[in-house]
Symmetry: C2
Subunit: 311 residues, 2 copies
DNA sequence: CCTGGTCTCTGACATGGGTCAGACATCGGG
DNA sequence: CCCGATGTCTGACCCATGTCAGAGACCAGG
């Protein structure tokens, strides 16, 4: 089976047929579709301005801080400033001081800006429609399905797993959402206080590791590894954003955690889990974990798993 | 069935879910993948130069005439000239006069240019590989399949059908390939002389029409409509490039031919066909044609079809 | 040989995207 | 209140892309 293959060979060479298909695909999509897109959508407005207009409008109304725009669009502050002045000159946006911090300035759309943005939006829709329109209904369905598949898989390929400090804001956010989700899923709720505690230091070298999975900078999952107190390494706090499920993020996290465990000389990975987490349990089994007797007194746990590590 | 739906409703509104999917898809593919692409591939070289280098190398060795480059890349002659000088300065291409016509100049890669192009090629491969590599084998297979599907369907959507003069070079090329294909498929070959003749004037208004299907300028199929001598309009010379089959080009041609027939007041479309053309016969049936007794003495025909037109 | 047309090149110019350094206002902490 | 840090803006640049007009070489046909 494919999944067994995957676990066994991990990263086999990409065959040249796949590479060829990706290149053909890319050529078609960017040249044939993209050629129309950017220039067409911005119409008589420079592309940078159009993108900026778009981004300002995307912020929930109340305006967007300029520094956030800079971060999101990755623009030089001087360049951004000039783009803003151009949009101001056309009476599309208004820039004013932030109330919280008067160094920060906030850009918001004017009425004209909002209608202009709606026009861009409509044009974007029209472009998408023009791509689908010549097709027969069955072809359309197939196209939409295939596009969804490509989108999901490309997103999956862009997942990057990297260690991060457990007190990093992104990490904390994941941990909170982890706890919140358990609270709704466990039959008798979840109270962090009752569960066996994991303090940040325990998830930081040398006592452990904390890994974050990101897509394009945004955190979509996490896992913690504890190397103390026993010789076995313990997997904790594994969570994947519901929006990112089905992309294999959990499996990547589970794979990624093996390296530090091995490096620390741990003979095995261990974890405990709740019986309501059926997908997780299935994943552990397919990833080579086997069920073992309880090795701790975690009150929320019903199953205990272990995976021997070879050295 | 889907195809029946298609024939009945023709071009129903594109539902908003499809539009949303296309836009999400486009965003992912261009921003996430494309962002890496162009800039990354050209490395320290301006993009225009890189593309030009590529295109010169794509020509079968012997060089590419500059005017062909201009047409293919759609560049201003002054701009192209300057790009060429830049590449010459880096000793990547050599430009010399054409032998046939000394106004025309021909660009060809130097040895350095060839290796440089190979580097670009390798980089492009590497980019494609990096997209696929993080995926498990089953995910890779799904991605490649879905990309192929998207590519085919987008190509299908880009097919444009338009009338053209039957003596246009592109039209002539199609007609030649049509005849060549019949020669190999018919049980007893195909000799244009033996078949009922169709002179260019017969495929030109007011006696008829000739339609060409193009994808991005390149002809991929054709069909002729004759409005004389009888009141019925006759469909002739329908052909689709083998490389473009399965995209629904034939059906689009068959649909497109109805409008001029109706406009001329024809009560029906007629056609004759050879028994070896099984896909074509299936298409005629599914497009609403019904088999009728022979209405001419075409020596290569085994079946005669007709489709009544409503006015 | 002349003429009109074709092909390429050069120079002049405009614009958009992007970088850099410094000016200036403001903030937060000692 | 001072100081270093932060956020924004301005001015001065650079380069790639693209457009336009005209010059010069060459071609084919009369």
């Amino acid at each position: 089976m494919a999944t067994v293959d995957a676990a066994a060979t991990d990263l086999p060479d990409v065959d040249s047929g796949a590479v060829e298909q990706v290149r053909r695909f890319h050529r078609i999509v960017t040249q044939r579709v993209g050629a129309l897109d950017d220039r067409y959508l911005a119409r008589d407005r420079p592309l940078g301005q159009a993108r900026l207009l778009w981004e300002i409008g995307a912020g929930a109304d109340g305006g967007v801080a300029i520094r956030d725009l800079r971060a999101r669009l990755d623009l030089d502050s001087g360049y951004l400033s000039r783009l803003l002045r151009a949009l101001e000159a056309d009476d599309l946006v208004a820039v004013g001081p932030s109330e919280a911090d008067r160094r920060v300035r906030v850009a918001r759309l004017t009425d004209r800006g909002r209608t202009e943005r709606a026009v861009l939006d409509e044009r974007s829709d029209a472009l998408a429609r023009s791509l689908v329109e010549p097709l027969r209904p069955d072809q359309r369905r197939r196209l939409v399905t295939a596009m969804g598949e490509v989108e999901r898989l490309i997103t999956a390929a862009l997942v990057a797993v990297a260690p991060v400090d457990p007190e990093d804001p992104a990490a904390q956010r994941c941990l909170q959402r982890y706890a919140a989700e358990l609270a709704t899923r466990f039959e008798d709720g979840f109270d962090t206080g009752r569960s066996r505690p994991v303090d940040p230091a325990g998830m930081r070298p040398p006592e452990g590791t904390f890994l974050l999975a990101r897509v394009h900078g945004e955190a979509v999952g996490c896992v913690a590894l504890r190397l103390r107190p026993g010789p076995e390494a313990e997997v904790k706090r594994m969570w994947v954003d519901p929006a990112a499920r089905g992309l294999g993020v959990a499996r990547r996290l589970l794979d990624a955690v093996e390296a530090p465990a091995r490096a620390a000389g741990a003979p095995a990975l261990r974890l405990d889990t709740n019986r309501t987490l059926v997908e997780a349990i299935a994943l552990y089994r397919s990833a080579g974990f086997v069920e073992v007797p309880a090795f701790n007194d975690e009150p929320y746990a019903h199953h205990w798993f272990e995976k021997r590590l070879e050295h």
